[in-house]
């Protein structure tokens, strides 16, 4: 193989940083080898089902696994770049870089001219009683199981940690059908982006601030958890314990950079808590103190995938430049200013503090406030309401608006403003916003009703005319509304439009299906659910009496008083036959249950 003879650049780690670095180094014509542990490359991207923030040049509003596909597709077109999967760089030695191929259990010593370490991070683990019980997972493992392999780790989950990962994984667990009982956060405020927190809150997940986990309960596996309140010094307060019945405890306590190889390569590392732990010393070309070794991504400080990709590109370009390849200096400069722009917002404050300790000076921006244009003035017009409360580096709403009605501006961290005069009500921004923070509203002026358009990422999508529960920002049921329209195009977020009472226009922010709960009984006597009936109809039982005989519907004490019509309506809905054309089945006497005694003794009096 080529990489054994003339290897220019070895990249350890095939996540967003490593792949971005490989693309840039590869473009210069260098022979590049990416060594990745995974069965498939892509790092964390392959298990990330949410849409990314950022700007559209860097895959904003694209789902993580799709980003991985795009990066890998670009690499597959480069003959000089190879990816070695199921392989690990086991050290960096004086004689070269030994790589373990796990599949055939062989080590090969490679001699690259430059090394880019994009080894990412590992999960922080919490110490609490019984934390070795099966059922205690790291959030990364949960994402791997659930999103990569389609295995749900449990049914009832307690999430520890409210950073972006804790919030996102909670939301994904609910999407996959699990029940997240609570998100527990030791700090006095939510760690992750407000838009991610709002997505989880709309599902009705409680957020318990100033709480931490005390112990896991259970014999051979997790059967519950005890959490407790903490004081301002993060010490547990006795007597403030709460118990949860859960089968899974998911730890999302943050990440720490994987700097082992940096250190082995001779690079200096320093402990900088704001960046997640030990991080390499490096310059703004991503070069470590070991001159032939670059870093990129979470290994250089915990951030997120967009900055990881930018760092990867910077490292890749510099490795090429080192090896006397011609590179686009202007591009390198742009990347550097882009990443500075990204980090200029308030959500990057901690990262800025950490980088300052490493010797960088970084700008922090002041941001535009919400626009003066008043949404109330346009009553009756179909228009978006943008609920993007904190400055985060993200602007797909601006770039996707076909009429230029939304402005984020020069600084990508600014809060978007909207000009309702220009807005045509097309709703594209709703389907593009990675934070699901834009909704459509329209008051129906001839009635007390309104239509609200909600970005909705749950399957199955509701159908037009279906009745659904309308939920508040906290996941409380406000009312039942009817779906008027569902849009679902390509990679865009589906948007469901639901008719609601106008009074809920400022509070209704989510929906949930009415009929798919496990406990929606059609027949309470015999405990037959809507799902049971629908399944039987799908199996071909399309007569009321067949359903009765198959499921025991209407065979209980009520004699079908409550369930007969409900069953017929479900049958009508499923078959398209109007209720009046269906056979309502037999009505057997007695119409109320009557004792042997009453019947037999009654006869004697009458005779």
């Amino acid at each position: 193989m080529r990489y054994l003879t003339e290897l220019h650049v070895l990249i350890a780690g095939g996540g967003p940083a490593g792949l971005a670095a490989a693309i840039e180094a590869g473009k210069s014509g260098l022979n590049v080898l990416v060594v990745d542990e995974g069965i498939e490359p892509g790092g964390q991207l392959v298990k990330q089902t949410h849409k990314f923030f950022g700007n559209e040049n860097f895959y904003a509003s694209v789902r993580g696994f799709d980003i991985a596909k795009e990066l890998l597709k670009e690499i597959s077109n480069m003959k000089n770049v190879e990816i070695l999967t199921e392989s690990t760089v086991i050290g960096i030695y004086d004689k070269g870089v030994p790589v373990l191929h796990r599949e055939n259990d062989e080590v090969e010593l490679l001699k690259p001219e430059r090394i880019i370490l994009a080894t990412g991070a590992s999960e922080k683990f919490l110490q609490f009683e019984n934390n070795d019980l099966p059922g205690v997972y790291g959030a990364g493992a949960v994402q791997t199981l659930m999103n990569q392999y389609g295995i749900l780790p449990g049914e009832n989950i307690l999430m520890i940690g409210s950073g972006n990962i804790g919030l996102i994984v909670s939301y994904q667990l609910e999407q996959a059908g699990a029940n997240v009982k609570a998100i527990v956060e030791a700090a006095d405020r939510i760690g992750g982006y407000e838009v991610h927190a709002r997505k989880a809150k709309r599902l009705g997940i409680p957020m318990l601030l100033k709480h931490t986990i005390k112990k896991a309960l259970g014999g051979n596996k997790v059967e519950g958890a005890v959490i407790t309140e903490v004081d301002e010094n993060w010490q547990m307060i006795a007597g403030k314990e709460k118990e949860f019945v859960v089968d899974t405890i998911c730890i999302a306590a943050g990440l720490t950079p994987s700097v082992e190889l940096v250190s082995q390569a001779g690079g200096n590392i320093r402990y900088i808590p704001e960046l997640g732990g030990y991080v390499p010393e490096r310059d703004n070309d991503m070069r470590t103190t070991a001159s032939n070794v670059f870093v990129a991504g979470d290994v250089s400080g915990i951030e997120e995938a967009t900055t990881a990709m930018i760092e990867g590109k910077i490292a890749g370009l510099n490795a090429a430049k080192d090896l006397s390849r011609k590179i686009d200096e202007k591009k390198l400069g742009n990347l550097k200013s882009q990443i500075e722009n990204f980090r200029s917002g308030p959500t990057s404050q901690k990262v800025r503090q950490g980088l300052q300790k490493l010797g960088f000076t970084l700008k922090s921006e002041s941001f535009t406030k919400n626009s003066d244009d008043n949404i109330e003035k346009y009553e009756g017009k179909k228009r978006p309401v943008i609920e993007c409360p904190e400055p985060i580096p993200c602007n797909p709403c601006e770039t996707s608006c076909p009429v230029g009605a939304i402005t984020v501006g020069e600084s990508i961290n600014s809060i978007p403003t909207i000009n309702y005069e220009k807005c045509t009500g097309c709703g594209i921004c709703v389907s593009k916003c990675p934070g699901l923070a834009i909704f459509m509203i329209q008051e129906l002026l001839d009635s007390e009703k309104a239509i609200i358009g909600i970005p909705y990422e749950f399957l199955p999508l509701p159908q037009k005319d279906e009745s659904v529960y309308v939920l508040s920002r906290d996941g409380e049921i406000l009312e039942t509304g009817k779906i008027t329209q569902v849009t679902n195009f390509g990679n865009k977020t589906p948007v469901v439009y639901v008719k609601i009472n106008r009074g809920y226009i400022k509070t209704a922010r989510h929906i949930k299906p009415v009929s798919h709960s496990k406990n929606d009984y059609v027949c309470r006597c015999e405990e037959i659910t809507v799902e049971d009936v629908e399944k039987a109809i799908d199996e071909g039982y399309t007569d009321f009496e067949e359903l009765r005989r198959y499921l025991r519907i209407a065979m209980g004490p009520c004699g079908g008083r409550t369930c007969r019509l409900n069953t017929l309506k479900i049958l009508s809905k499923k078959t398209g036959i109007p209720v009046e054309k269906l056979d309502p089945g037999n009505f057997r006497p007695p119409s109320v249950p009557t004792t042997f005694k009453a019947i037999s003794e009654g006869s004697e009096k009458n005779e």
Binding site: G559, D583, P593, F596, I599
Partner: protein, 379 residues
């Protein structure tokens, strides 16, 4: 125009069992016609008992083969039909009754059935829910039992459908087209189906379907009533019968008690309306034998048809005048329990020209020419 190799008339347990067994033997080009919905007729209205204790040897054999097939049902068909082998307890209240059971048990034991006589003391010990005053003895077969007739019918129908049969519910046969004693097809309210072979499995309407082909079958239908109580905890394993006191009772898997009796005053008819006198007679009589019933409540009361033959045994044969007109009729209230073996035998007869597993030749229609020996174990 639709056509099929075989048209079965009747979507009860007999018709669906024949359909399934034909498919299993490779004949899948079948249409089954049901004028209402599956198990709408006698099957869906029956008590669901499955017994092997008969006074006629051929009935015992057929019933024993059926039990073998019921035991394999859920595995073979993939549906739990609530089959429960809690036994059948036949109570004798008179010396004549005891004598009959003694000779029956001897005959049944010769056929290999696990049946025995129980003394009054044994009955009281084993089945404490029975008031044994007046009871002399009982015959008990532990491999008898009961199942859910609706589910059994639906299971056979779905299995047949999966193998290629066409199950047409809400489709009524209105005529059988015969030219020169050969069947040409069946007329239905949904159109004509061309076929050369018809099976009459029409239960309560077997005589009428016979007439469609010009065949006069010696069957007539009688109303039989039945009711079910509210469900309670399981206490009753066996189905309990008394011929002398004219009742049967069993507890379903869901916990309801199902019970009924026959009525000598009934005239042949297709009347399926429940009557008040039945309810009074049963609610008065049953608590005498089962005191716990007094406080229980009746939930549903209905009626179905017993399609009677002259000797209360089924008629399974083919017409001698009309070619390829088969019938499995006149089950006299015991079609459900015999259906698996009858379906199998009928399918083998049609597929191979003769039955393989069990002999049904004694159930031919010619037997009535020699005079009638009536099955005695009938409620």
């Amino acid at each position: 125009m639709n056509k099929a190799s075989v048209v079965i008339i009747g979507g009860g347990i007999i018709g669906t069992s024949i359909a399934y067994h034909l498919c299993k033997n490779g004949i899948t080009d079948i249409v089954l016609l049901e004028k209402d919905y599956l198990s709408a007729g006698s099957t869906g209205r029956c008590g669901g008992g499955i017994r092997q204790q008969w006074s006629e040897r051929a009935n015992v054999r057929l019933a024993m083969r059926s039990v073998e097939l019921f035991q394999k049902y859920s595995e073979e068909i993939g549906l739990d039909i609530e089959y429960y082998q809690g036994g059948y307890l036949l109570l004798a209240f008179t010396d004549e009754g005891v004598e009959l059971f003694e000779s029956n048990v001897k005959l049944q034991q010769e056929e290999g059935l696990d049946v025995k006589l129980l003394t009054k003391k044994e009955i009281a010990e084993k089945f404490s829910f029975i008031n044994t005053s007046g009871v002399k003895a009982a015959a008990f077969c532990s491999s008898d039992g009961h199942a859910n007739p609706h589910l059994a019918t639906m299971g056979y129908a779905k299995a047949a459908e999966n193998l290629g049969a066409n199950i047409m519910t809400r489709t009524k046969a209105i005529g059988i087209d015969v030219i020169n004693n050969k069947i040409q097809g069946v007329n239905t309210d949904k159109g004509y189906i061309k076929t050369g072979l018809v099976i009459n499995a029409a239960g309560g309407y077997s005589h009428e379907v016979g007439q469609m082909a010009g065949v006069d079958l010696p069957t007539e239908s009688y109303r039989h009533q039945i009711f079910v109580t509210e469900p309670v905890e399981h206490i009753m394993d066996p189905l309990v019968i008394s011929f002398e006191n004219n009742f049967y009772i069993r507890q379903t898997k869901a916990g309801n008690f199902v019970m009924g009796q026959s009525d000598d005053d009934e005239k042949p008819s297709h009347n399926e309306n429940p009557g008040w006198r039945f309810l009074i007679e049963m609610t008065t009589k049953m608590p005498k034998f089962f005191p716990f019933l007094k406080q229980m409540r009746v939930l549903r009361h209905w009626a179905g048809l017993y399609n009677m033959s002259p000797d209360a045994l089924p008629i399974i044969d083919k017409s001698t005048t009309i070619s390829d007109f088969y019938y499995a009729v006149g089950f006299s209230g015991h079609g459900f329990m015999l259906a698996p073996a009858v379906g199998e035998a009928m399918a083998e007869w049609i597929a191979y020209g003769k039955t393989r597993k069990v002999d049904i030749s004694n159930l031919n229609i010619k037997r009535f020419a020699k005079g009638v020996t009536r099955e005695k174990n009938v409620v």
